[in-house]
């Protein structure tokens, strides 16, 4: 059972989503404003945050940035408009995925579960690539001596890419494997997550060594 912190200002929608997500087996705590949400987040760290972007006072983007600064708890944002401004802003603020209102609870549940899954089907081993060390059993990553904390999505992306170094993965393929989206996934999720991953594991994110871009196709791990 996952504990969800739902930050949504409309009381009826908040209650409706609480009812529906509880049926899917989650424990849902709620907050009406960004400030209250952050208080509750700090009081007890949830498994995941579902965050409405349009909030009175502190808006969803700011809340998302604060949460991201304080840990690796995944965030799924609820956007009312689904236009580029909301999506890009939310992803830059560090959200792992987004759902456009009116969202079906089934879809939201599937996204929550996908984002929370830290593992992919990989053999138990410790892989070392130059300074990067990936332990697929304890799901820990270190660069040199320093441990790196990754969100579940970042971890899955890294595990998927490093499974077969040198192999090129298209964005749609990654969306289906890591985010478990259907064939129409938003490839900006991948690009955004790759940037965050690079910022954590690359010496110079502008000249990536581990996660490389293959222009026009997608990404590959190495060759290192």
């Amino acid at each position: 059972m996952t504990e969800i912190l739902l930050i949504e200002d409309d009381p009826l929608l908040q209650r409706g989503l609480q009812l529906a997500l509880s049926r899917h087996g989650h424990e849902v705590r709620t907050a009406d404003t960004g400030e209250e949400g952050l208080r509750r987040f700090r009081a007890r760290t949830p498994g995941i945050v579902v965050l409405d972007l349009m909030l009175p006072g502190m808006d969803g983007f700011q809340v998302c940035r604060r949460i991201r600064a304080e840990g690796e708890v995944p965030v799924i944002m609820l956007t009312a408009r689904g236009d580029d401004f909301d999506v890009i802003g939310g992803l830059e603020a560090g959200a792992d995925d987004y759902v456009v209102k009116p969202a079906q609870p089934t879809v939201l549940d599937a996204r929550i579960r996908a984002v929370l899954r830290r593992t992919v089907d990989v053999p138990n081993e410790v892989r070392v690539h130059r300074d990067l060390r990936i332990d697929t059993v304890s799901l820990t990553v270190t660069v040199g001596e320093a441990p790196v904390t990754l969100t579940p999505t970042e971890m899955r992306l890294l595990l998927t890419l490093s499974r077969s170094p040198g192999r090129v993965y298209g964005r749609q393929r990654l969306l289906e494997e890591v985010w478990e989206h259907d064939y129409l996934g938003d490839s900006r999720l991948v690009d955004n997550c790759v940037q965050r991953l690079r910022a954590k594991i690359e010496d110079d994110p502008a000249v990536p060594v581990y996660v490389q871009t293959v222009r026009g196709f997608g990404y590959r791990f190495g060759p290192v």
Binding site: D10, L12, L13, R15, G16, L17, L19, A20, R23, A80, R81, D83, D84, K101, P102, A103, Q104, P105, T106, R171, D182, Y183, L184, S187, G216
Partner: protein
């Protein structure tokens, strides 16, 4: 207006000026030369008559009565060479041109007692004939005709030449005036036509949609009044256009606002109807049916609001293409598979057609066309993909009755329903309008018509890379 009359305003003005000038100068020349010539001739005639009378008077007292041949010759000599003197049957020696003297003149002289003149033309030269009776004074003091008649012929060529010179001078003056008048006409035409031309240019710009076009009125004439009127007209058109544009923008914003406001309650409805749907087993029959309807209608509402928002985004111009390299054929197959349509649709396509498109928008178009064919047409519904070098065509046909002729121009209209009796179709009524907007966003097009076998036929034509299609010879697989 006849064909001989020039059509342009400038040639018409010029022709009018020229005509007036020519007629005027002709009339003036004719009047001047006629009266001046007449006066010249008359004064000459008078002078000659007086001279002849004087000469006759000078010799009269020397002539005995009745005169003999010698006397007649003497009179003749004193008057001049071209002279004839007659008394009853006696005639003086003939002068050189005495043959010109007419019987008419002689009659007039014989009957009267005064000098008679007559103008004649012989061999292109004008002559003046003068005839005078010689008067004698009776012993009792009465003056009476002596019966001697003197006729003389004088050449008028010199006078005629003077008149001719006069005509020539008048004609030259007329020609000069004509040239001057033409120049004047040009200047006037330019002065009148320039504001007219400016007005025309302004009217053209207005017609072309440039509602800021104005002409500065000059002077206080009719043209200036017309200019002011046209400016006022443009002003008022501009005003109404601005009002209409504002109203349309308001309507668009209203639609966007309404659909946006509907999202939150719809989200709640979507959430709770799903809870309802999962617990219908425990409900009574009527409650279960009601729950089912609430669920169905909520989904329909969601679809309509989403379509409405999409249309609002197109109206606001806030849509952006997110192009990716996509295989058109797999994209179409994905769309059909995701909506469980693969087994209801015949797909005819080559192996692979790489294109640059926005996947989501292509999905919307294909789903709309296929959904439309399945809903309104009859099976089999066929989807064909045909590519050439620059474009890819997606053709969706069904086996139904096809589109009625009056329907074809409106299938892409918003909320257009081909059959007004069947208003409750599952769609929002915006699907094809959105599909068309999406096609155009790709620099492509979407057209509707009927196939050879009568079913409806929709053709989506997309450039394989929007924005950079070079027009060129098309080759490859054709329809």
């Amino acid at each position: 207006m006849g064909r001989w009359w020039p059509r342009g305003l400038r040639p018409r003005l010029l022709a009018g000026f020229a005509l007036v000038t020519v007629l005027g100068s002709l009339a003036a020349t004719w009047a001047i030369t006629e009266s001046a010539g007449e006066a010249l001739v008359a004064s000459n005639q008078r002078r000659i008559s007086e001279t002849v009378s004087g000469q006759i008077g000078a010799v009269t007292h020397e002539v005995s009565h009745p005169p003999d041949q010698a006397a007649l010759d003497r009179v003749r000599d004193s008057v001049g060479p071209d002279t004839l003197v007659v008394f009853e049957d006696l005639r003086s020696v003939d002068g050189a041109r005495a043959d010109l003297i007419t019987d008419e003149l002689r009659e007039a002289v014989r009957e009267g007692d005064r000098v008679v003149t007559q103008r004649v033309v012989d061999v292109d030269r004008p002559w003046l004939l003068v005839g005078a009776p010689v008067m004698i004074t009776d012993p009792d003091g009465e003056r009476a005709p002596s019966g001697i008649e003197v006729y003389t012929v004088r050449d008028l060529s010199a006078v005629q030449e003077e008149v001719d010179a006069l005509v020539r001078a008048a004609a030259a003056a007329g020609a000069a005036v004509l040239v001057l008048a033409a120049l004047l006409a040009l200047v006037t035409a330019r002065g009148v036509l320039r504001p007219v031309r400016e007005l025309r240019d302004t009217a053209r710009r207005l017609a072309a949609g440039d509602l800021d076009a104005r002409t500065e009125p000059q002077g206080v004439d009719e043209l200036a009044e017309l200019t002011v009127t046209i400016n006022e007209m443009a002003e008022s058109v501009q005003g109404s256009m601005a009002t209409m544009e504002r109203m349309r923008a308001d309507a668009r914003r209203f639609a966007a606002d309404v659909s946006h406001e509907l999202r939150t309650p719809l989200s709640t409805l979507t959430a709770v109807t799903e809870v309802l749907a999962a617990s219908t087993e425990d409900m009574a029959q009527d409650a279960r049916e009601s729950a089912g309807m609430a669920i169905t209608e909520t989904r329909r509402l969601v679809r309509m609001v989403e379509d409405l928002m999409e249309v609002s985004r197109f109206d606001a111009g806030s849509v952006r293409l997110r192009e990716e390299e996509v295989d058109m054929v797999s994209a179409v197959r994905d769309t059909l598979r995701a909506r469980n349509r693969l087994d209801r649709v015949e797909l005819h396509a080559p192996q692979e057609v790489p294109v640059r498109v926005d996947r989501r928008r292509l999905d919307v178009i294909v789903a709309n066309l296929v959904g439309n064919a399945l809903r309104h047409g009859e099976p089999p519904v066929r989807v064909g993909v045909f590519a050439d070098r620059t474009h890819v065509n997606l053709v969706v046909t069904d086996n139904g009755p096809g589109l009625a002729e009056h329907v074809v121009p409106h299938v892409f209209d918003r909320f257009f329903k081909a059959d007004s009796a069947r208003t409750r179709t599952p769609g929002s009524g915006l699907g094809l309008a959105i599909a068309l907007e999406n096609a155009r966003l790709h620099d492509g097009d979407l057209t509707a018509g009927n196939g050879d076998d009568g079913g409806a036929r929709f053709v989506l034509r997309l450039p394989r890379a929007p924005g950079q299609t070079a027009p060129g010879r098309e080759r490859g697989i054709q329809e």
